[in-house]
Amino acid sequence: MNRQNRDERLRHILREGDPAAGDPGLTLEEAREMRRAVLNAVPERRRRLLPVFAWAGAALVAVAVLVAALLLQRPEAAPAPRVAEVVKETAGTAATAETPVAETEKTETVEVTAKKRPHRRRTPAPATSATSNSPDRIASAAPAVEPEEPRQIQFSTPGGTRIIWVISPGEASHTK
């Protein structure tokens, strides 16, 4: 008997003597009982997951509060209205008050630049003497020379409103 015939014969014997051949399978009652037992064995996961959801919710609320706080603070962090303080002689007060906005802003710009970068001037030494009459020089020198003279403070807001305070020593200040 060659191998192929032997295998064929074996297959026939196995199928003839199949242990499950005469068995109808699980009865309806057996299957129902087994199904119930199996499904009851599924672990309850809802309680196990509850703390996870609680923590996730708390974290979400915390993040929301943080974001809201940041958004509320942002308008306050916007650039404050530029304030220029120019001290000039009393004689030039009226003229300064009538100065156009653009000129005032130019003065402020020069002043800020001078304060922030005092040692980075690229202009040569003779130019320094030429600019000795510039407003910022006057501003820095004026309080030292004549401390008793009236002072003028100008505010320029981004909305275009200009506020000028004139402060005279010994008198009440007034606003124009």
Binding site: L10, I13, L14, P19, G25
Partner: protein, 175 residues
């Protein structure tokens, strides 16, 4: 209200049970020594699926393969637990009981069962799935989670062992 994970797992397991309990019981009946053992094996396989629903892969075929593998592994565990002496004793007792039956079919079943019981569980599963249930080698490999070449090797060895018992017995009977 959305169903919880537990409800989903229960529904999925219910579908798995309804779809495969009959086929799994038939396989268990061929692998186990008696009906009670086959029923226990099937129930234990489904209970394992219930205890760890995450380990059962999605889909009908992967789920079935997982159940078959679990069933074969359970058979192996029993085979190892049961000592060789106890196993041989149980087989002899079974053969005596079944051999006393006058019907030829019952005798044939007892002989085949006894011959199959001599094989190691995985080898037994391979020969049962391929030769008795007609499952292709590739499918057997997928279900048992082993390579096709390993399945072929198991089949070759199982045929040799079974032929020695069954075909040899048949020759003696014919004389």
């Amino acid at each position: 209200m959305e169903p919880t994970q537990s409800q989903n797992a229960t529904e999925r397991l219910g579908r798995l049970f309804d779809a495969h309990q009959d086929r799994l019981f038939r396989l268990a009946r061929r692998l186990a020594s008696d009906r009670e053992e086959a029923r226990d094996l099937v129930q234990e396989a489904f209970l394992r699926a219930a205890r760890s629903p995450g380990s059962v892969p999605d889909g009908d075929q992967p789920g079935e393969a997982w159940l078959v593998r679990t069933l074969v592994n359970l058979c192996r565990d029993r085979y190892r637990r049961l000592g060789v002496r106890a196993r041989v004793h149980a087989e002899m007792k079974q053969e005596e009981q079944d051999g006393a039956h006058p019907e030829d079919a019952a005798v044939a079943r007892a002989t085949v069962r006894a011959a199959l019981a001599r094989l190691a569980p995985r080898r037994r599963a391979a020969i049962v799935l391929h030769e008795m249930e007609g499952v292709p080698v590739r499918e057997v490999a997928r279900m048992l989670g082993i390579a096709e070449v390993t399945v072929r090797w198991h089949l070759l060895a199982a045929r040799r062992e079974l032929a020695r018992v069954l075909v040899g017995t048949e020759k003696e009977d014919r004389r």
